[in-house]
């Protein structure tokens, strides 16, 4: 079930109302049933995969806690193998098989393994990682194993964050299912506000930008220069609003019921370095990789070359996590190289100019713009349909820019290369959406917008709600398929 569907508009109020009407001891059953229904609305049969993961990790958690020291690791490894095995089969089998086939063809030998007709279960990477975080935390002794299988299943399946995160930790979420949440008007309204902002980002901004981006990236070889620049910048905002919009709806829906999920985004395009960007973008995944992958590899407490390798390798795997395609691997590698280059540059700068090796504090628009441009460059690999398309776009990113001032007077050029074949009203709305987003982010950097908003008069608050709803309903894009980009991961 998509958040931005009519189904969800019926589902959410019913589940929320029932949640507050039912006694506390029955609420987890309601939420678990609702979460199963939510997930099965996509493809019912895949609930079995989820059930398998839940069963394995539920048992693993208890066995790890109860087992003698020597055997605990064995159960953890079994849990990791089962989880990663499911992920590898469904997500990477055909990718690895295709790569093997290409290699065999290049070497002139036959390759007998056929492709399998596998449909990737929705949100598999998210709930696998969330489930893994549980067994790892139990193994590390940071969290006690959950004895109620229903509550544990709910931790993995909690519908607001089931298909695209945030990837929660048991310390943050699991115990919350045992706690009774009372109806709190202020909290509920704040949750609904967050949902409204999420819908605005998704329907008004992301879905409005999508046709511009798709036009260019799905037909890359017919475009050049300015079209690539526009489509790539638009994609940067599209993917942010798509994912951040989903996250805000998830956070808001959970908050209405009294659950506070972890923050996943913190105005990432205002970052002044790539390192900072990764502390602000998809925070739940970045911290997951940091805690369960990068640090166990040795983190930065190793030799310098090994540190660089750890960084690079972590980003490479993070890229692969996003999708079974070389474009994602390259995207991860580019980000890894950015980080290494940043560290090297900072160290050289420190040595040459006797400056501290830490980034300077304060507002630095130049650094912000540089970080945004580097991020946009990396997004090319993320969005391109193939590596061939990505290299074509990179090679032609600045082609024809010198002729631009002359061409801006040609109607056909403006229509095709700037408006990308879309309506100029839609182009203006897309720019308006980006401007509103940036405006909100600038305000957020100075004040807690939610608190300031709550202090305003009802007329102003309702005016803003009406304006947001009108923009969503009448200017949102409802015609194309509006699935969230991160659902495919």
């Amino acid at each position: 079930m998509l958040f931005n569907s009519a189904q969800f508009l019926i589902f959410f109020p019913i589940v929320t109302a029932l949640y507050f009407l039912l006694p506390h001891r029955l609420r987890w059953i309601l939420l678990l049933t609702a979460s199963c229904y939510f997930y099965m609305a996509f493809r019912p049969i895949y609930i079995l995969i989820l059930a398998f993961t839940i069963l394995v990790d539920y048992c693993a958690g208890i066995w790890i806690e109860d087992a003698p020291a020597g055997r605990r690791k064995l159960y953890l490894i079994a849990s990791i193998v089962a989880n990663v095995g499911v992920l590898a089969f469904f997500k990477y089998f055909n990718f690895l098989n295709g790569t093997g086939r290409s290699l065999a063809t290049a070497l002139g030998s036959s390759y007998p393994i056929p492709f399998l007709d596998i449909v990737l279960p929705i949100g598999l990477s998210f709930h696998t990682f969330q489930s893994l975080s549980y067994t790892i935390e139990v193994y590390r002794g940071n969290y006690r194993a959950e004895r109620n299988p229903g509550i544990f299943a709910l931790y993995v399946m909690f519908y607001p964050q089931l298909v695209a995160g945030p990837i929660e930790r048991p310390q943050n979420l699991l115990h919350e299912f045992h706690r009774e949440h009372f109806f709190d008007y202020t909290r509920v309204v704040a949750g609904l506000q967050l949902m409204l902002w999420g819908f605005f980002q998704k329907v008004f901004i992301a879905d409005r930008l999508a046709p511009f981006v798709n036009t260019v990236y799905n037909d890359a070889h017919h475009y050049q220069g300015i079209s690539f620049l526009i489509a790539t910048v638009f994609f940067a905002f599209q993917i942010y609003c798509d994912f951040s919009g989903y996250t805000d709806i998830a956070l808001g829906a959970a908050q209405v019921m009294g659950f506070y999920l972890m923050r996943n985004f913190n105005r990432p395009y205002f970052s002044q370095s790539i390192a900072e960007f990764w502390t602000r973008w998809h925070i739940s995944l970045s911290t997951w990789f940091r805690d369960y992958f990068y640090i166990p590899l040795g983190g930065n407490r190793v030799s310098r070359p090994r540190w660089y390798f750890n960084l690079f390798f972590t980003f490479l795997i993070s890229g692969l996590w996003h999708g079974a395609n070389w474009t994602y691997v390259i995207w991860g590698a580019v980000n890894g190289l950015y980080l290494i280059a940043e560290i090297v540059a900072r160290n050289w700068s420190a040595r040459l100019f006797h400056r501290p090796a830490t980034p300077p504090a304060g507002f630095l628009p130049g650094a912000m713009l540089r970080t945004f441009c580097l991020t946009c460059f990396a997004w090319i690999f993320f969005r391109a349909n193939s590596l061939r398309d990505a290299t074509y776009i990179v090679r032609n990113l600045f082609t024809g820019l010198t002729a631009l001032p002359r061409q801006l007077h040609q109607v056909a050029f403006v229509k095709g290369a700037i408006l990308l074949g879309q309506d100029k009203q839609d182009f203006a709305l897309a720019l308006l959406g980006i401007a509103i987003l940036l405006g909100v982010h600038i305000l957020q950097s100075n004040v807690h917008l939610g608190e300031v908003f709550a202090r305003q008069r009802i007329g102003l608050r309702w005016g803003v709600y009406y304006a947001a709803l009108i923009l969503i309903l009448f200017f949102g894009a409802f015609n194309q398929s509006q699935q969230f980009i991160y659902f495919q991961f």
Binding site: A6, A17, F478, N479
Partner: protein, 316 residues
């Protein structure tokens, strides 16, 4: 919780009132309920805002086995006139400013609602491209799947406002009306508009495939499919050469001819050489459309020619 429910109900009052207004106005006759505004006014004020939103639901309500598809040139073949001249009822599902993508989508839409028997597709070279395929059918199909979208559609809102203004203020939006004199308009059509079509022309591999599917479906389901290439003025025909698209133009005719019987009027002849036969380089006057109707439906071609590649007797 009661406080929240009360507030939410109060908050939704303007939206409910708005929905009621749309229900009562129903600018595109989509809901089919009682409307306070006549179809005549709506046709003048709302219909030109989105032809698809008017025609597709109308077709769904009154499906016909005989269909006309295309852009404004096919739209000019009024169903009533076709019936008058040929005795057959045809539903005209062609739209002003139509694209090949819309034609393809409309064909499949129609095939879902009717057992098609005879289909004429009007297709000219400027539409035969893979580049810039505007698709107004998408929003109609979305509304068909989820009728609630009708209430939050911008065009519907605009149509409702225009219809109300049309009824009580006698407002005429004059959408698509040509304000310039004939010569200026002629030049702008030959210049910037044609440039917009041809400068980024992309030979339609994708849409040729789509037309092939339509052709195959027609053969399998006994649909009598034909293409009509409408006449354009020779000055416009010559613009093809200016953009170096002669080869693509020849392929266009060859492609259509290979898919179904194709009536070609777009070549230098008496009809296309005479400027008086055209209101602008793209559109011939109704005397010519009448001639085309008579020729195509009777099979006696005077100005038109049947393109080779398709064997009439043997079929495919």
């Amino acid at each position: 919780m009661t406080h929240l429910i009360k507030r939410l109900l109060l908050f939704s009052v303007p939206f409910l009132l708005y929905a009621l207004c749309i229900y009562l106005i129903d600018p595109f006759n989509f809901l089919g309920g009682p409307s306070i505004i006549s179809t005549e006014i709506k046709k003048r004020t709302a219909y030109p805002l989105n032809y698809c939103l008017w025609k597709m639901p109308e077709f769904a309500r009154n499906p016909s086995p005989h269909l006309l598809l295309g852009d404004s040139r096919m739209d000019a073949l009024k169903s009533e006139r076709v019936k008058e001249l040929t005795g057959t009822d045809f539903f005209n599902l062609a739209y002003g400013g139509g694209t090949l993508r819309e034609i393809v989508q409309s064909f499949w839409f129609a095939s879902r609602h009717a057992n098609l028997n005879r289909v004429y597709i009007g297709l000219n070279f400027n539409l035969y491209t893979d580049y810039e395929q505007l698709d107004r059918t998408a929003e109609v199909l979305a509304i068909e799947r989820a009728p609630a979208l009708y209430f939050i559609n911008r065009t519907v809102l605009k149509g409702a406002a225009f219809s109300v203004a049309g009824k009580w203020l006698n407002y005429d939006p004059r959408i698509g009306a040509v304000e310039e004199d004939r010569e200026t308009f002629w030049k702008s059509q030959l210049g910037p508009l044609t440039e917009a079509f041809y400068i980024r022309y992309v030979y339609p591999r994708k849409y040729y495939g789509e037309l092939e599917k339509i052709s195959l479906y027609s053969r399998q389901h006994g649909v009598d499919l034909s293409f009509i290439i409408f006449p354009t003025h020779v000055e416009l025909q010559n613009r093809v050469r200016d953009f170096g698209l002669e080869q693509q133009y020849a392929s266009f005719k060859q492609d259509l001819g290979s898919l179904a019987p194709t009536y070609d009027y777009d070549y230098p002849n008496e009809m296309t050489a005479n400027k008086d036969n055209f209101s602008d380089p793209y559109h011939c006057r109704h005397e010519c459309t009448d001639e085309i109707i008579q020729e195509v439906w009777s099979g006696h071609l005077k100005y038109g020619r049947l393109l080779s590649g398709y064997d009439h007797r043997a079929g495919f």
